[in-house]
Amino acid sequence: MPLFEAQNVTKRFATQTALDGVSISVPEKSIYGLLGPNGAGKTTLIRIINQITAPDSGTVMLNGRPIKPEDVYKIGYLPEERGLYKKMKVGEQALYLAQLKGLTRAEAMRRLRYWFKKLEITDWWGKKVEELSKGMQQKVQFAATVLHEPQLLIFDEPFTGFDPINVRQIKDEILFLREKGATIIFATHNMGSVEELCDNITLINKAKTILEGRVDTIRQEWAGNEFDIVFDGEVTPSGNEHFSVIRSHFEKGRSNVRIKAADTHDTNEIIRSMTAAGTVIAFNPALPSMNDIFIRVVETKNSEAAKN
C-alpha cells in the first residue's frame, strides 16, 4: 500500500490551471522525486499535500485514508521559500517550530539536542538567526523539519545555499531518515541528486504529469541505441553499417568509447566488431542522465503543444 497517494488532483486559480488531473503514488519508505520546470505546479501539489490549499477536485490519501487536519503532525515540510524569524534566537525558534508540530517542550528539547549535535550546530543555540550564515540557517530549518519524526517528509530544493560538504551531509541524513522508515518526497531541479537519491519520480510540466515511474526503469527505457565500451589500450573502432562512433577517449591505458547503434541492429554483430577492434573490458548500454531525459521530455512536450 502506498503511504501517500494523490488521485486526479486538479487545482485552478483565477487565470491559470496549476494542476490538471495529476496523480502520484508514493510507496512507503522510498524517496520520491517530484520534478518539473519552474511554474509546472510542483509547489501547488506540495501545498495541497500540506493542506495549505485544498484541491478543486481529486482525492489526497495518507495511509490509505483521506488526509485529515491532524495529519500535519505526520508530515514534515521544508519549503523552497523558507526562512526564520531573524531576531529570534536559534534554539528558541527551533523549540517554537517543534511545539507547533505537537511536541512537548521537554521532548522537543531532548530531540533538538540530538539533531543540533548531529548537524554540528550546537554552538549556535543562543545566537540570533540574523548572525548565522545561510547554510547554518538551512541546517536549523532541516532539524526543525525532521524533529517530530514524521512519516512523510517533503523537501523542496533542500540543497540550495549549501556548500558541497554540507550537501553531502544533508544527503546522508535524508538516506538515514529513509532507513529509519520515513517516506520522502523530494522536489528539485538538481537531476544529479535525483539519480543519486530517488527511487521513483513524477515529472510535471504545465500542470500535467508527463513522465513517471522508477528511476532505473525510466533510464533504461530512454537508453535508446547507445552503448559504452571500454577497451584495454588505445583503441578506436571504426563505424560500419551496424553502428557509428559518437566519441572516443583514451586515458590511463584505457579507451572509453560511446557508439550509436543503427535503428535495426544486431547487438551480437556490434559485439563482434568490438572484440575484433581490441580487448573489450566492458560493454554496457549507455543510460541517459536524468538531466537529458528531463530536457528531452519537456522539450518534446512543449513543441507538441506549440504545434497544436
Partner: protein
C-alpha cells in the same frame, strides 16, 4: 498546548523582551510625568516671590488705590515720580515692576504698561486689568450723572456660572457639566484613535516580517493561516494592554512621588488652582465679591458632575470599543500586510483604512460641540467609525438603544471582517514578487479553501 496560544505566547514574549519595548515603556511615563511636573515647578518658581509693584499715573490720581493688594502682590501708588525716573532704578528700590497708566487710558485700551525684568504671571496681569477695567467703567458711568450710582452698581454686580441640569426620562434631574463630558470625550476618542492605529500597524508590520522572512510557509504547514493571524492580533493586543497598564501605573507613581517629595505643598495648591485662575482670564463678569468662594463652588460642582457621569457605562464602552475596534482594524491591517511584499507597498491599501479612522476622529471632535447631531449619530452607529465616535458621545448620555445597535453592528462587522481578512491573508502570504491590485484581492476572496 493549543497552537493559537503558542503563537500568542511567542508574539507576546518576543515583543515584550525587545529593547525598544522596554525603553518605550519606561521612558513614556517619565515624559508624561515631566509634562505634569514641569509646569508646576515653573509656576512655583515664578509665583512664590512676593511682588511689590510701583504704580505711576500720568496726569491725575484717578486710579489711586484702585488695584487691591493680593497675597502675592502689593501695589504702591507713587505720586511725583515720573516714569523715566523710576524705569531704570525700580529693581534697586525693591520693586518687581512698574505699572504705568497713561492719561489716555479711558480711551485707548493699550495705554497701560507693566515694566518688569521678568515675564509677569498671567494671574497678576488679569488682576490688574480687571481692576482697571472696572474702575474705568465706573468712571464712565459716573459721567452720566446717575443718582445712587454706587448702590445700583452693587445690585447689578453679578457673577454668572452656568450649571447645566439634564433631566432624564424618569424626570430625575442630574447636574452635569459639559466641561467634564467634553474632556472625557476628547481623551477617550483620541486615545482610541492612537491605540487602534499604533497596535494595528504593529500587526501589519508583523505580518510583513513573516512574509518577507519567508517563515510563513513553514508555520502554516503546522497551523491554519487564520490561527497565525489571530494569534498575532491577540498577542499584540496583550502587549499593548501590558504597556498601557505600566504607563498608567508608572505615571501615577512618578507624579505622586514628585508631588510629595519635591514640590512644597503650597505649590500643589497653586497647581490645583491653575484652571480657576486661567478661567478668570476669560471675559467673565468678575465681581469684587468673594472669588475664593466662587472657586470653591465651582470645584464642588465639577466634582459633583464628575460623580454623576455613568462611569460604569463609560468604562465598559471604552473597553468594548477598544477591543472590537482593535480587532476590526487589526484584521484589516493584517490583510494589507499579507498582500504586499514590503512596507512601502502598503500605501495604496492604507488609504481606505486610514480614512475612516481620521474621519472618526474629526467627527468625534465635532461631537463634543454637538453630541446630538445627526452626523454624530450616524458615525457612532457605523462600525468603522463607531469605536471612536461612540466613545466620544457616551459621556453625553446616549440612549440605550443606540448603544445596543452600535455594539451589535460592531460585533457582526468584526466577524465578517475577520472572515474576509483571513481569506485575503491566506492567499496573500504565499504570493511573492508581483504587485497586488484591488482586483487581485477581490479574486482571493473568492478562492475555495
Amino acid at each position: 498546548m493549543n497552537k493559537t496560544s503558542l503563537i500568542i505566547q511567542r508574539e507576546y514574549v518576543t515583543r515584550v523582551r525587545k529593547k525598544s519595548f522596554i525603553i518605550m515603556t519606561l521612558l513614556t511615563p517619565l515624559l508624561l510625568a515631566l509634562i505634569f511636573v514641569v509646569p508646576a515647578l515653573v509656576m512655583s518658581n515664578n509665583d512664590k516671590d512676593f511682588k511689590k509693584i510701583a504704580v505711576i499715573e500720568d496726569g491725575g490720581d484717578l486710579f489711586k488705590g484702585v488695584i487691591p493688594d493680593t497675597k502675592d502682590a502689593e501695589f504702591v501708588y507713587l505720586t511725583n515720580t515720573s516714569l523715566s525716573d523710576i524705569k531704570s532704578t525700580f529693581s534697586e528700590k525693591g520693586y518687581y515692576g512698574v505699572l504705568y497708566i497713561s492719561d489716555l487710558v479711558t480711551t485707548v485700551p493699550n495705554a497701560v504698561q507693566l515694566i518688569s525684568k521678568k515675564q509677569p504671571p498671567i494671574g497678576l496681569l488679569d488682576h490688574i486689568s480687571n481692576s482697571l477695567e472696572k474702575e474705568i467703567e465706573r468712571q464712565k458711568l459716573l459721567g452720566y450723572n446717575i443718582e445712587n450710582l454706587d448702590e445700583i452698581l452693587k445690585t447689578i454686580n453679578s457673577n454668572v456660572d452656568i450649571q447645566t441640569i439634564k433631566i432624564d426620562e424618569e424626570g430625575k434631574s442630574k447636574e452635569t457639566s459639559t466641561g467634564i463630558a467634553m474632556g472625557l470625550a476628547y481623551i477617550s476618542g483620541f486615545l482610541m484613535y492612537m491605540l487602534v492605529f499604533m497596535f494595528g500597524s504593529q500587526v501589519m508590520r508583523g505580518v510583513i516580517e513573516e512574509k518577507t522572512s519567508r517563515i510563513v510557509e513553514v508555520i502554516i504547514s503546522s497551523v491554519k493561516p487564520v490561527q497565525l493571524m489571530l494569534g498575532k492580533i491577540i498577542g499584540i493586543a496583550l502587549v499593548g494592554l501590558t504597556q498601557f497598564a505600566i504607563w498608567i501605573m508608572l505615571t501615577l507613581a512618578i507624579v505622586a512621588v514628585v508631588q510629595s517629595k519635591i514640590l512644597p505643598e503650597k505649590t500643589i495648591e497653586q497647581v490645583q488652582q491653575l484652571p480657576q485662575s486661567l478661567g478668570q482670564a476669560e471675559p467673565s463678569v468678575a465681581g469684587t465679591g468673594t472669588p475664593a468662594a466662587t472657586q470653591m463652588t465651582q470645584i464642588q460642582s465639577l466634582f459633583a458632575s464628575a460623580m454623576n457621569q455613568r462611569w460604569g457605562l463609560i468604562i465598559f464602552a471604552f473597553v468594548f470599543y477598544f477591543i472590537t475596534g482593535y480587532l476590526l482594524y487589526a484584521s484589516l491591517f493584517a490583510a494589507i500586510g499579507s498582500a504586499v511584499d514590503n512596507e512601502t507597498e502598503t500605501q495604496q491599501f492604507m488609504l481606505p483604512v486610514t480614512i475612516p479612522i481620521i474621519l472618526g476622529l474629526i467627527v468625534a471632535m465635532g461631537t463634543m460641540q454637538n453630541p446630538e447631531s445627526s452626523i454624530s449619530f450616524w458615525f457612532s452607529i457605523i462600525p468603522l467609525t463607531s469605536p471612536i465616535v461612540m466613545v466620544a458621545r457616551i459621556p453625553f448620555d446616549v440612549p440605550a438603544w443606540e448603544i445596543a445597535l452600535s455594539m451589535g453592528l460592531m460585533l457582526v462587522t468584526i466577524v465578517a471582517c475577520i472572515w474576509m481578512a483571513a481569506k485575503i491573508y491566506r492567499t496573500g502570504i504565499l504570493m511573492y514578487g508581483k504587485k497586488t491590485s484591488y482586483k487581485e484581492i477581490w479574486k482571493w476572496l473568492t478562492y475555495k479553501g
